[in-house]
């Protein structure tokens, strides 16, 4: 019997606001000491009240629109109760009954559409580090604004699960709502997987793999669960509904061995935060700030940039934005340099923060197309453009300094060619060529190149030589 997998994914996205969701304390704890970005509100001291960050609402609107979602005019917060040392309040403030982001969809590069059920705003929990007999608590992450994006069970393969997570990552970065640093947990995925016999109207029993932070882990965990569950069903056994952990090292999911009792969070309206009411005009105004999305760039550049190259470049919103500023006729040229030269560089990630100007890139492409720069020289100048000291400097001036501009001036080239042909050591080659030995032309071109210190345009040189030796 054939089994069909069904997958739904919950994704937590940390928003890149300056301050936390409910207090005016630094939200960017990167490289900062434990518990140094913590307010009395995060610490849940008695009497402390949350104060909602308006920027988180604006970012939530952008995130929602990036996923083609309806933005709900009315939303509000609820308390989700549980006791754990990562949450001093004893509850998480979330949006259980009335989330800010409604239904929508994400379209994968393959064309598959994954429906979004809803997405809501909530505060993150602190970070626990476990040691032999104790755990340590760092509250820097408490109430970092999150949006939790809940997909419909619309995904039916490990590959699509991977692509969905990756597309979400792209959308959130294009929308500018998160730093999107997966290694540091800016986006985390919980994956629900079940399998059911083909044709069955009912979904199978699902398992949830929590806290995955790479697309590859998502893909591998789903592959593993599909295989494991299918094997159980084929053997006539049952899948147990449980929460699992994933190990990249072993490539396996394992039960968390916690008591599997029904969760009882005792949700209640958060009395300290008045509801959110967004007017149609406000939603429209904020939505208009959404920049071009990957799908827009696919439409815009689909006929100019090769599909594979485009998908690679789409991982870098900064590059796509830059390509959007470049003269249309040079987009292909510049995109090839981005893909084949820049991204191959070891320091390419640093370079992305400070890209050359559109004019510099236009000029470079023009010089390359006019053969003033050989392809090697183009790459050299291109990389030089990323030196912050070159900012604002003319591409032609930089190329001149590097001494790599090709000599295209036919008059000047002729002088060099004549000088080479006058040399006794080229006499034999000239005779051989006239006698019909075609390949000797290469030797002569080489001699001219040498004489010009590599600046002559080889194809122009060849043309002149052929004329002279005819």
């Amino acid at each position: 019997m054939k089994y069909i997998p069904t997958i739904g994914i919950e994704c937590h996205v940390q928003l890149c606001t300056k301050t936390k969701l409910f207090s005016e304390v630094d939200n960017d704890a990167r490289g900062k000491e434990p518990n140094s970005c913590v307010s009395p509100v995060d610490y849940a001291l008695p009497g402390m009240l949350p104060r909602l960050n308006g920027e988180a609402i604006r970012l939530a609107i952008l995130a929602g629109r990036a996923m083609n979602c309806k933005i709900n005019e009315n939303s509000r917060f609820d308390r989700k109760h549980y006791f754990y040392p990562d949450s001093p309040k004893g509850y998480q403030i979330t949006q259980y009954y009335a989330p800010i982001i409604g239904e929508g969809y994400v379209e994968l590069p393959s064309g598959v559409k994954v429906k979004i059920e809803h997405a809501h705003l909530e505060g993150d929990a602190g970070k626990l580090t476990h040691f032999g007999s104790y755990s340590l608590v760092d509250l820097n992450r408490v109430d970092t604004p999150l949006i939790e994006i809940v997909s419909m069970p619309d995904i039916h393969s490990a590959k699509d699960a991977h692509d969905y997570c990756k597309e979400l990552w792209r959308l959130m970065r294009y929308a500018g709502v998160t730093y999107g640093d997966l290694y540091n947990g800016n986006m985390r995925f919980d994956v629900n997987t079940s399998v059911a016999p083909e044709g069955s109207k009912k979904l199978g029993t699902r398992t949830e793999v929590k806290n995955l932070n790479s697309f590859r882990s998502v893909e591998r965990a789903v592959e593993y669960e599909i295989a494991r569950q299918t094997k159980l069903l084929e053997a006539g056994e049952k899948v147990v509904q449980e929460t699992l952990g994933w190990s990249d090292a072993t490539g396996k999911t394992t039960g968390q061995r916690s008591k599997e009792e029904a969760k009882d969070y005792r949700y209640m309206p958060e009395p300290d935060l008045p509801p959110i009411h967004l007017t149609t005009e406000f939603i429209k105004e904020e939505s208009a700030k959404l920049p071009l999305m990957p799908a827009d760039y696919r439409t815009k550049f689909g006929s100019v940039i090769a599909g594979d190259t485009l998908e690679v470049l789409l991982d870098y919103p900064e590059l796509m934005q830059k390509l959007g500023e470049i003269d249309e006729k040079y987009v292909k040229n510049a995109s090839n340099l981005f893909a084949s030269v820049l991204l191959a560089e070891e320091k390419s990630a640093e370079y992305l923060n400070d890209l050359p100007s559109a004019k510099q890139l236009n000029d470079l492409a023009e010089m390359n197309e006019k053969k003033e720069l050989s392809s090697t020289a183009t790459k050299e100048v291109f990389l030089r453009l990323f030196d912050p000291q070159m900012r604002g400097k003319d591409t032609r001036a930089i190329a001149k300094e590097l001494g790599v501009i090709q000599e295209n001036d036919l008059g000047a080239l002729e002088v060099i060619v004549d000088a080479v042909l006058a040399k006794p050591e080229t006499k034999k080659a000239q005779d051989d060529f006239r006698a019909g030995e075609e390949k000797v032309i290469g030797f002569l071109v080489g001699q001219v190149m040498k004489e010009s210190h590599g600046k002559a345009n080889p194809s122009a040189v060849q043309e002149i030589l052929r004329k002279k030796l005819a």
């Binding site: 606001t17 300056k18 301050t19 207090s23 005016e24 304390v25 630094d26 000491e33 434990p34 518990n35 140094s36 913590v38 307010s39 009395p40 610490y43 001291l45 104060r51 909602l52 960050n53 308006g54 920027e55 988180a56 609402i57 509000r76 109760h81 006791f83 754990y84 040392p85 004893g90 626990l128 580090t129 476990h130 040691f131 032999g132 007999s133 104790y134 755990s135 340590l136 608590v137 760092d138 509250l139 009882d264 005792r266 309206p269 009395p271 935060l273 008045p274 509801p275 959110i276 009411h277």
Partner: protein, 95 residues
């Protein structure tokens, strides 16, 4: 509604309370009385009434996204805990 001992223990667990056997027995009865009293409200038909989410009739109380100095610093806050290691709060092992 019957509140048996296992329900009381479950509620105590959720609320992080430690109860002795006496309290477990007594609280079951107390809770039953409380629920019975509150249940009088069930006589009313509230199907057309919007639940109360707040009592102040306010909406959209937002603040700007600016970092402000806090009334207590890390040391003040960590001083409130029993034990710290390297500026982190030490707690019994949880997993």
């Amino acid at each position: 509604m019957k509140v048996d001992e296992s329900t009381v223990k479950h509620l105590a667990d959720l609320s992080d309370f430690r109860l002795n056997d006496d309290e477990v027995k007594r609280l079951g009865g107390d809770l039953e009385n409380i629920i019975k009293y509150i249940s009088q409200l069930d006589e009313l038909d509230t199907s057309d009434v919007e639940p109360t989410y707040q009592v102040f009739e306010m909406e959209n109380v937002w603040r700007g996204d600016e970092i402000l100095p806090q009334d207590a610093n890390r040391e003040d806050l960590l001083n409130l805990t029993v034990e710290t290691i390297d500026n982190q709060i030490k707690v019994p092992k949880v997993l």
